[in-house]
Symmetry: C2
Subunit: 364 residues, 2 copies
């Protein structure tokens, strides 16, 4: 912060606020109220939040908690926030706000303009990616939580044969999978996507349809479930009945590509290196899939930057947690995607999810 | 739009995009990629989206779909968006962006600045709340979906005695309740909060702790579950063992307050009227609870504006769907909150959730 002449960070989003305070609630699902935390250049964080959150914030390590009754149509915390910032940011000083890729501002734009005006000769600048950089390398405690989440997903994926057979609608599979994840210990299941189709699926972000599974379908389930505020994010592919030669080969290729990514993943390698290691096997004739990337970091969010793309030259260091997510194209515009979660260690990398064998799982 | 000299709306958030296009995916859980939809003053919407979403967007009614491979660190869709806007917005014209209460911008601030610069003599202005106003009055199809969601929650709440008894940790109750909701037909359960404590709870937004329930606890579960993209949002209170006189009276008061709100809810009444009808019973000596409001609209989001606060003079009209959510204070800084979902009809209002009797539900 000092290097960048930032006198305070202003946080507005769930992961930023939680990272510095430990404030964990699903209440962010309600878009009504803005929440603010200020991290001064020196001293402890200050929470400037709606009064509805005072009791819960009071249970974190934050002791300076300032509240207003929100929603307030005339002044939804802006004056209180401006006054607080004026206390800790000197005249001509600057307040750093996340403004780079993967960020957004969780307050109405009209309130940002009011805040700028109320701050007078103090100005709002970029946070220069400080919070994102801090969050990029995980602590042992964070890695433990992600590992637990991955274990829950592993066990849930192992139980998929209990809930899947030809004739079951995909929407029922999605409901039942979330149930399995809860039974296996997930706190909640913020993300489940997937697809099913003969010899592959059309995309990896669709919600379920009511179409029944049939023999010859490839079913993919991709989950981001949460344990103690931390995500895992990986998928599994299943063949309903014996797989075609094309599907079998595609799965082999995906696992080989993932393993190549895993072997390339070590301190000093770059995200770009991981891309080329995987893409050279999964997709040697083209520059990646429609997804545009073959993996990403994760932790307090389902996906965190940076991304495994050719243009990303971020150096890997121990403690980074990321997904390896190669995809292959199949006939008739179908695709298949595989995903595992890994952590970078001093020696290389370690799988957090249980790495899959080259043979696709077969049900029925 | 014409009244406000807005030549195109620029949409960046999940509910805005879905409202106009039907694009339904849980992939918004990933913050990496921005998504844009342009609604021109005349003509059909145009989607400007990452290529990973092209297949799914292609299944909606939108036919003009322009994609880029995201993430792109140099230009994450900004040029494509600017070029598209320049096609449909005349020079000196303006692009309307949601900037009022309950809104946020789902793209990095640095990209907004780049977009403004690329647009040159076209300017980005407020959307004047146009999308929010459109979304405020629900269609019959939307009301049906919310009604179905509420029915699922009703049945789940009725099954709570299956999963609750003294000695069960609250975290297990939370997991099991989500499982019940899925069994009863929820597509997913984006929101579950609640609390438990002797004679009341401390707040209504906390996640679960591992503390076991005990005799004399009041357990509250508040869920926002989703059916076909639409939320319900209501809670239920349970006494573990016989309730104290204070708890029994508090629940009576909450139900009476809710019913008073229901009776006041008719076309021509205001949100403020609902506040006073409920608060006069629940909290006659003070101006509302810490939550600052006694209900809100809902639909594609868990909470939507406007809010039931004294300052809100929005007139109710048929098709509005809202929650009635009075709260009462109890000794030792405890509270209790009750919530039901209603729709405004020509004649008055109709409950979408099953209204509760005055006696608190007792388990064990």
């Amino acid at each position: 912060m000092a290097e960048h002449d930032v006198h305070a960070l202003l946080l507005t989003t769930e992961p930023e606020v939680r990272y510095f305070t430990g404030f964990l609630t699903r209440f962010w699902e309600s878009p009504t109220r803005p929440w603010f935390v200020i991290v001064p250049l020196a001293g402890d964080p200050i929470a400037v939040i709606p009064s509805i959150g005072a009791h819960l914030m009071g249970q974190t390590w934050v002791s300076d908690i300032r509240t207003w009754q929100s929603p307030n149509y005339n002044d939804d915390g802006v004056s209180l926030l401006a006054d607080t910032l004026k206390e800790i940011v000197p005249a001509q000083g600057s307040v750093g706000l996340a403004d780079q890729i993967e960020s957004h501002l969780r307050m109405p734009l009209v309130d940002l303009r009011k805040l700028e005006s109320a701050l007078g000769n103090r100005k709002i600048s970029s946070d220069h990616g400080i919070t994102a950089r801090l969050r990029l390398v995980k602590s042992e405690a964070e890695i433990d939580k992600i590992t637990t989440a991955a274990g829950i997903a592993d066990r849930s994926f192992d139980r998929v044969p209990e809930i899947v057979s030809a004739g079951v609608p995909l929407s029922q599979v999605f409901r039942d999978f979330q149930r399995l994840a809860l039974e296996e210990g997930a706190d909640w299941v913020p993300y489940l996507a997937g697809g099913a189709g003969q010899g592959g699926y059309g995309d990896v972000i669709s919600p379920a349809t009511d179409i029944p599974l049939q023999k010859g379908d490839v079913l993919m389930l991709d989950t981001g479930l949460v344990h103690d505020g931390y995500f895992c994010d990986f998928d599994r592919n299943y063949s309903i009945g014996p797989p075609s030669a094309g599907v079998r080969q595609a799965h082999h290729k995906l696992i080989e590509a993932t393993q190549a990514g895993f072997e390339a993943a070590r301190p000093g390698a770059t995200m770009s290196d991981l891309f080329h290691a995987m893409n050279g096997i999964a997709n040697p004739d083209a520059v990646g899939s429609d997804g545009g990337r073959l993996g990403h970091h994760l932790g307090m969010q389902l996906t965190e930057g940076p991304s495994i793309i050719p243009q990303d030259h971020t150096l890997l260091v121990p403690g980074m947690v990321l997904t390896l997510e190669p995809g292959v194209s199949l006939p008739e515009s179908k695709i298949m995607v595989h995903e595992e979660d890994i952590v970078i260690t001093e020696e290389g990398a370690r799988y957090l999810s249980t790495p899959q064998g080259t043979d696709i799982r077969v049900i029925g």
